[in-house]
Amino acid sequence: MPGIVIDKNHCKGCELCVKACPQKILSMSREITLRGYFYAQMHDRSRCIGCRICAITCPDAAISVHHHGQMYVLFEY
């Protein structure tokens, strides 16, 4: 099962990951971080496919992607 962790310290609420996610499971929070940004979060963990596209898109390297068990690498990165 893949999943991601979004580091709220680095996220600047640019929303690029939201647009990029092929599963459309990212959205912006309604509360702000200590820096005053709305941060991105995953609203449906069950449909994450671990494609890493959100992490690749993020300009702040705020997203890390993890996988438990068998992983299928969808593309070389």
Partner: protein, 251 residues
């Protein structure tokens, strides 16, 4: 108990410092690509970067490599001086469109022409970011900036400069490619180009420059997502992507 694998993490080539770049600024993406490549090629510990003047003036705070801070436009000269004395080290300059194509035009052309064995990452977002959104040599015709508030008038200011094409007219061999970072597919391709450039430097082969079309949401006056769309619709048309020059014997 199942194992947890990390399939993507912040690269060791980047520090943990939160960057000063605007939300959605693709400098962050490009920094990460360079950091990933340096680590993957095993070059980080013998790399020195040369930081420009521009939005990325503080780049030295974000990379886990030694850095030199250059006067505006002069990074290719600093890189030349350093690399000539330390050819065993990996040297890269990281420059914006004002730094490289305006004040630094002489330095980049001559470094490329001498075939200096360093890599230049040229970030082209068609505007001057740090100083608040003035016209750049790469600003598109009709594009509005603070010093061409009625749109760039090419009768008065000429046409935008295509740096990769300009440098490809030099006879000295080099590797010149233009990429973009406004979508995941483009970012993956950009990383491959940057990797190729540093791999060539590792071989001691030639000068390499990767021009990266980038967004500047703040000074373009639109959201980061709209900025990626504007880049796709406008910048790509004037600045075509692709490899423009490569040394003999490359596929």
């Amino acid at each position: 108990m199942q194992d947890t694998n990390t399939t993507f993490a912040r690269p060791e080539g980047l520090t943990d410092v939160v960057t000063h770049y605007c939300p959605g600024c693709t400098h962050g993406v490009i920094h990460r690509l360079v950091a990933e490549v340096l680590v993957e090629l095993g070059l980080r510990e013998r790399t020195v970067g040369v930081a420009p003047v521009g939005c990325s003036v503080l780049a030295y705070n974000y990379f886990n490599t030694d850095f030199l801070e250059s006067p505006h436009g002069r990074a290719p000269a600093l890189a030349t001086g350093f690399k000539r004395l330390r050819p065993d080290m990996i040297v890269f300059t990281y420059q914006g469109d004002g730094d490289l194509a305006s004040i630094g035009m002489a330095e980049i052309i001559h470094a490329a022409n001498r075939g200096e064995k360093f890599t230049t990452i040229f970030v082209n977002n068609a505007i001057y970011g740090m100083t608040g959104g003035q016209m750049a040599p790469t600003t598109l015709p009709g594009q509005v900036t603070s010093t061409c508030p009625f749109g760039r008038d090419t009768q008065v200011t000429g046409m935008p400069i295509r740096v990769v094409e300009l440098l490809s007219s030099l006879v000295t061999p080099s590797y010149l490619e233009r990429v973009a970072v406004h979508s995941p597919a483009h970012i993956v391709r950009a990383k491959q180009a940057i990797k190729k450039a540093f791999a060539l430097q590792k071989e001691g082969r030639c000068f390499s420059l990767i021009e990266v079309l980038s967004t500047c949401p703040t000074n373009w006056g639109i959201t980061p997502t709209e900025a990626t769309q504007w880049l796709d619709a406008n910048l790509k048309a004037y600045f075509p992507l692709g490899v423009f020059k490569q040394p003999e014997g490359m596929k």
